[in-house]
């Protein structure tokens, strides 16, 4: 243990601890900006570039960045001298001197970490009015928007993209004053290796990286009397949206959200979880087919995460054919709305608009892909993030705190507990196993909980006894972990039958479209627990026992894997491709 004093107070910490963490032990919350440590997902951005966290260390000539300076025996640290405060303030003034002053109309207003610091420091003048960097705003993709003028070179996105996701789409570009983080050669993001997982968006402290918004389009559709506008809500949204209204993270507020959406004017409020159950029916059939046919097509890789599929198809093209051909729950739900539902309601599918509420920005990209259509009609028209729908609700004077629960509409409103756990890493696998077990053995599982594949660990493996067969499964979250597993498969080092992969560490609950959270590590877990709580309290906990799903097959699809099911619920060929966003 190392003993030191901070502002005269003694503290003891293990060797290697930074001054910042030692100060936290004394409840001294030194201000930081670029520093970000998300232990549970193994993310650490410690570039020491903002120089806001600086402190005085006796005997050291200059100020030390507390986030990157390890403590030493007998160290004397001062965190609040005139010298320290003057430099912190000055550096903050310098940052804002090269930052657009458009807080009033900025997407991150009240969520911006730079804005918060400036407010906390009580800065109320623009001391420097010199040159400002002028970079073009990148709107080349329909999912991710880049505004390099708001980049403060914190490098959080770069660290996430390179070290956690191992995609490598971002780097610092240029030298000196105009340096920003951007794709190589400052090329548009749509031409880069970016998979739109959105993890960079969730760590960006400013609005340099945000999702592309579709609120305007959604209002227009809602107010268009000729359109029948339907909304679907993803599992991960219902345990997070409460945070935008001051509620506890992880608290399921499904009924309130449904009520709120209905008030906004949607003609029908459906549940993407229904689509998740549908995915399980189709995918479990695929799984069983491949397991029983032999080794060649294994492992089967889940395909509901578009960020992950993009990664697979571009970085591991030799393995892309082992992914499931199933569309994602979002897409399946939309496809069923535009075929089965439209038919039932007697509405021309061209007049149906499907809006989905997702925890994710990759879903915006997925909805616009050429492959994601049925009989020439887009399955999903607009994708809103959890953050966007919260803004719409507030704009519509709806406060989830003061609203009564309501139910989803039928026929795409009833879902099982298996479907709802899709929102957390391991959920798709667990849901699939519940149905695969029944289909393969002819018996129903008594205990449907596969806790071995739950949790925040990057790679979770298990062996499941399905009758006489031992089925080897793995659940992976975070693309860096996906890379590790795929490389093992390429080298034929491991044998798996089914692998679930999610691009976002922890799964969709930690998606790039979820409410911004400061203590992210805990909040992700709370949201996960919220989903498992809903599952525990569900009347039906297996997808194949969902009566609404059974009705859909009986009335419309026929059998799992039928020709119609393939036309509507599967894709052929590549899933990822350059895409224009539908307007």
């Amino acid at each position: 243990m190392i003993n030191l004093t901070i502002d005269g107070q003694p503290v003891s910490v293990p060797e290697g601890t930074t001054i910042l963490d030692a100060a936290r032990k004394l409840n001294l919350d030194l201000p930081t900006l670029c520093y970000l440590n998300l232990e549970k997902i193994k993310y650490l951005n410690k570039v020491a570039s903002c120089r806001i966290c600086v402190v005085e260390v006796e005997g050291r000539r200059n100020l030390a960045p507390s986030c990157a300076t390890p403590v030493s025996e007998g160290m004397k640290v001062i965190t609040n001298s005139k010298r320290v405060l003057a430099s912190r303030r000055k550096n903050l003034e310098l940052i804002i001197s090269n930052h657009p002053f458009e807080c009033l109309v900025c997407a991150k207003s009240t969520d911006c970490e730079l804005q918060k610091l400036v407010w906390e420091f009580g800065i109320n003048t623009q001391r420097y009015t010199g040159e400002r960097s002028e970079h073009p705003i990148d709107r080349s993709s329909g999912a991710l928007k880049r505004d390099p003028n708001k980049c403060i070179m914190c490098r959080r996105c770069e660290t996430m993209c390179n070290e956690v996701q191992t995609v490598g789409a971002l780097t610092a570009f240029g030298r000196g004053f105009n340096t920003v983080v951007a794709p190589a050669e400052m090329n548009p993001i749509a031409t880069s290796a970016c998979v739109y997982c959105g993890q960079c968006v969730s760590v960006c402290p400013t609005a340099a990286l945000t999702g592309v918004g579709y609120i305007k389009e959604t209002w227009e559709a809602l107010f268009n009397p000729k359109k029948h506008v339907v909304v679907q809500v993803a599992p991960a949204v219902r345990v997070a949206i409460g945070e935008e209204f001051g509620m506890e993270p992880g608290l399921p507020v499904t009924g309130k959200l449904v009520a709120g959406l209905r008030r906004l004017g949607f003609n029908a409020v459906f549940d993407t979880t229904f689509g998740a159950d549908l995915t399980i029916i189709e995918e479990s059939r695929e799984i069983i087919e491949r397991i029983e046919d032999g080794q060649e097509d294994l492992p089967i890789l889940t395909s509901c995460c578009p960020g992950w599929i993009n990664f697979l198809e571009h970085q591991f093209p030799d393995l892309k054919y082992i992914a499931s051909t199933c569309k994602s729950p979002q897409q399946m739900t939309g496809a069923v709305v535009k075929t089965y539902y439209a038919q039932k309601m007697g509405i021309d599918p061209k007049d149906v608009v499907v809006v989905s509420v997702m925890p994710c920005i990759a879903k915006k990209y997925e909805a616009a892909l050429p492959s994601e259509e049925t009989y020439g009609i887009r399955d999903v028209d607009y994708v809103l993030t959890t953050r966007e729908i919260a803004k719409m609700l507030k704009e519509g004077s709806i406060n989830l705190n003061h609203i009564q629960d309501e139910d989803f509409d039928n026929p795409l409103g009833f879902s099982s507990g298996a479907g709802v756990i899709f929102g957390g890493s391991g959920g798709v696998l667990e849901a699939a196993l519940r149905t695969v077990y029944a289909r393969m053995t002819g018996h129903e599982l008594e205990d449907v909980n596969f806790t071995a594949v739950r949790g925040m660990a990057g790679i979770r493996e298990a062996e499941v006894q399905v009758g006489e067969r031992t089925v080897r499964v793995a659940a992976v979250s975070g693309l860096g972990n996906a890379r590790k597993v795929l490389e093992k498969i390429q080298r034929r080092e491991e044998r798996y039958d089914v692998i679930e992969i999610m691009a976002c560490p922890g799964g969709c609950v930690n998606g790039g479209g979820q409410p911004y959270a400061e203590e992210r590590d805990e909040i992700i877990e709370k949201r996960m627990h919220g989903l498992y709580q809903i599952d525990r309290n569900s009347r039906v906990r297996k997808s194949h026992q969902n009566p609404a799903i059974q009705a859909l097959y009986e009335e419309f699809l026929g059998e799992a894997g039928s020709r119609k099911a393939h036309e509507i619920l599967h894709v052929t060929g590549l899933m990822s491709a350059p895409a224009d966003c539908p307007k």
């Binding site: 570039v47 020491a48 570039s49 903002c50 120089r51 806001i52 600086v54 200059n62 100020l63 960045p65 990157a68 300076t69 390890p70 010298r83 003057a86 430099s87 000055k90 550096n91 310098l94 940052i95 001197s97 090269n98 420097y128 010199g130 040159e131 403060i152 070179m153 780097t171 610092a172 240029g174 030298r175 000196g176 004053f177 105009n178 340096t179």
Partner: protein, 625 residues
């Protein structure tokens, strides 16, 4: 030359080749042989010194004197103001400002007939006398060339001449007679401090690296010399690459490294070429590679080119660049000695530091220790430039005063102007005013007066230099070269530059001077690396010693030195103007009024200070003040 596989073989090769230098050193006088050395440094090279060599060689051949008269290039003689330099041995005559066509005159008169060519001898400006040898010239009198010992003596493209000069003997001694710990102890005892600018004890740096256990360790030579106007390292690389190679090998032995890298800026093609030749020759002769001198010691060197970034002279940025990453510095600690190239223990040493090492082991730490001041041992090479008469490369013992360098060696200020300031340490250093001219130069003394040793650039300024503009110039360089990683340097220095530019353009206020000081404090206190930490030095030192110039700029909107364009105004003298209208016709903003044969006037409110009128006036009627 055969491969050299043992220390004894090296000794015998030395015996064999030492007579190569005898004519030059005057150790053996053989009336028949003549040696002509022509400076092959970049400066003289640009003045066609290669042609001079070619012409001499053609004449030698034409006259059937091959072998009796030898002409070759050598490293920088240092007297760059008077280049190209040609030296003739055994007379040791020193010719200056030689042109390629002068070769035949020198050959006919001096080589064939023994008469010195008087017009090409250096003339002392005060004594008005011709000087025959370098030793007579005041430029050289106070110099002591240790790092530059072989520059101007040997042909750097011939390893035999390096060996003849005693080269690689220190390596042999170290490998066969000393342990790594003894080598380190000797380095520490010598007192050699890093010549790149920071002045850290070389021996202590090696000691740290030697203490970290690792299968792999690295020695890096920092040849990224980036200070504007500095060419000390370039000259050593061009003139004596082997001394750097030998220094690196001794360092490698001391710390336990087997691989060295020379990171050299791509803007030094001649230095790269000479270094490549030297490495190839050392390898071919068994002095680089495996089992060197049969001692089991392995060491090899690879060259890596920089890509135009001053910041890559910072050791951790250099290491990142070597690894193929962005050339951005890292937070220290950990230091490279613990965690450097590829996370292995690494030492990064400057070119001049390494060039000193062979001679320290040859003549002993005690000898080196006897030169210099109490805290700064040995000599320092300076690139003397600016408004001084003798621009060039000088090497003086630590403790030599500024006055001695500027006046005795430098020959005083050009055009008889008044000395104003000496800038040392490049963009990281400060401007030293005349009250400190008698400061003996060493690391501590320069720091105490607001500057630093730096890598050796020394720019002399006169009354014709504007100190505000000088500060602005260095800040402009910094802003261009800042890597952009940390806030105070990336944005702070930019704001400093904007303020300085405003002051030179007449938009400055007194509050600006306080802001400059305040910004400087934050930039020095919180920048991540040495580039940012020292960037405000030129500004702070000029604010301290030349406040009057700043005040003239902000209070009176006047530039006392007459440099800042926007503060000058153009005036037509009525007594000289004949009304030819040439100025009015040439004015791009049509701000000059007056009819033919009438006195013209400039409308100051519209004048853009381009100076076209002054250029066009043939009657000296347009003046600038």
């Amino acid at each position: 030359m055969p491969e050299i596989r043992t220390g004894e073989q090296l000794a015998s090769v030395y015996e064999q080749y030492k007579q190569l230098l005898s004519t030059r050193l005057g150790t053996v006088v053989d009336d028949d042989t003549r040696m002509i050395l022509v400076c092959g440094g970049t400066g003289c090279h640009a003045s066609e010194s290669e042609m001079i060599v070619e012409n001499f060689q053609a004449l030698i051949h034409k006259n059937g004197l091959d072998g009796k008269v030898v002409c070759s290039i050598s490293g920088c003689f240092g007297f760059c103001e008077k280049g190209p330099i040609v030296k003739v041995f055994p007379d040791n005559v020193f010719y200056v400002q030689v042109k390629p066509e002068d070769a035949s005159e020198i050959f006919d008169q001096h080589i064939l007939n023994g008469h010195k060519v008087k017009r090409l001898l250096y003339e002392d400006p005060i004594l008005k006398e011709k000087m025959e040898t370098a030793e007579d010239i005041s430029f050289y009198k106070l110099q002591q060339r240790i790092a530059l010992r072989n520059c101007g003596l040997i042909n750097p493209e011939k390893i035999e001449e390096y060996i003849a000069s005693g080269g690689y003997q220190s390596l042999a001694k170290v490998l066969t007679q000393m342990t790594p710990q003894q080598v380190i102890a000797e380095m520490i005892a010598s007192g050699l401090r890093g010549r790149g600018g920071a002045g850290f004890s070389t021996g202590r740096k090696w000691e740290f690296a030697s203490k970290y256990a690792s299968e792999e360790k690295f020695v890096i030579c920092n040849a990224d010399e980036g200070d504007p106007g500095a060419f000390m390292d370039r000259s050593i690389m061009e003139g004596d690459s082997h001394s750097v190679i030998e220094g690196m090998m001794i360092a490698g032995y001391a710390i336990g490294a087997q691989q060295g890298y020379v990171y050299i800026r791509a803007e030094y093609p001649l230095a790269v070429k000479r270094l490549e030749i030297a490495i190839q020759q050392a390898r071919a002769n068994g002095l680089l590679g495996r089992d060197i001198l049969g001692t089991g010691f392995n060491f090899d060197i690879a060259i890596r080119l920089g890509a135009g970034a001053f910041v890559c002279g910072e050791e951790t940025a250099l290491i990142h660049s070597l690894q193929g990453l962005r050339g951005e510095p890292a937070t220290k600690p950990p230091f490279p000695a613990e965690n450097g190239l590829w996370a292995k223990p690494t030492i990064v040493n400057n070119v001049e530091t390494l060039a000193n090492i062979p001679v320290i082991f040859q003549r002993g730490a005690q000898w080196f220790n006897s030169i210099g001041t109490k805290t700064s041992k040995g000599t320092k090479v300076f690139a003397l430039a600016g408004k001084v008469n003798n621009v060039g490369l000088v090497e003086v013992p630590m403790g030599t005063t500024l006055r001695e360098i500027i006046y005795d060696i430098g020959g005083g200020i050009k055009d008889g102007a008044e000395f104003k300031s000496a800038q040392t340490g490049g963009p990281s250093g400060g401007c030293i005013p005349k009250q400190y001219l008698d400061t003996p130069i060493d690391y501590e003394s320069l720091q105490s007066i607001g500057s630093m040793m730096g890598s050796g650039g020394m720019i002399i300024m006169s009354e014709h230099d504007c100190m505000v503009n000088i500060a602005r110039f260095y800040m402009e360089f910094i802003v261009e070269e800042s890597c952009g990683r940390c806030v105070p340097c990336r944005i702070g220095n930019k704001r400093m530059l904007e303020i300085l530019t405003g002051i030179t353009e007449g938009r400055g206020t007194e509050a600006d001077l306080d802001e400059l000081r305040s910004l400087s404090e934050t930039i020095i206190d919180t920048s991540l690396c040495g580039l940012g930490q020292t960037a405000p030095n030129p500004v702070l030192s000029t604010l301290k010693y030349f406040l009057d110039e700043y005040e003239a700029h902000v209070k009176e909107k006047r530039c006392p030195a007459g440099v800042c364009q926007k503060l000058m105004h153009y005036k037509i003298l009525p007594e000289k103007c004949i009304g030819c209208t040439s100025c009015a016709r040439g004015c791009p903003v049509s701000c000059i009024s007056g009819t033919v044969k009438q006195v013209h006037t400039i409308d100051q409110s519209k004048c853009i200070k381009c100076g076209a009128c002054m250029t066009r006036c043939k009657f000296g009627a347009v003046v600038r003040e």
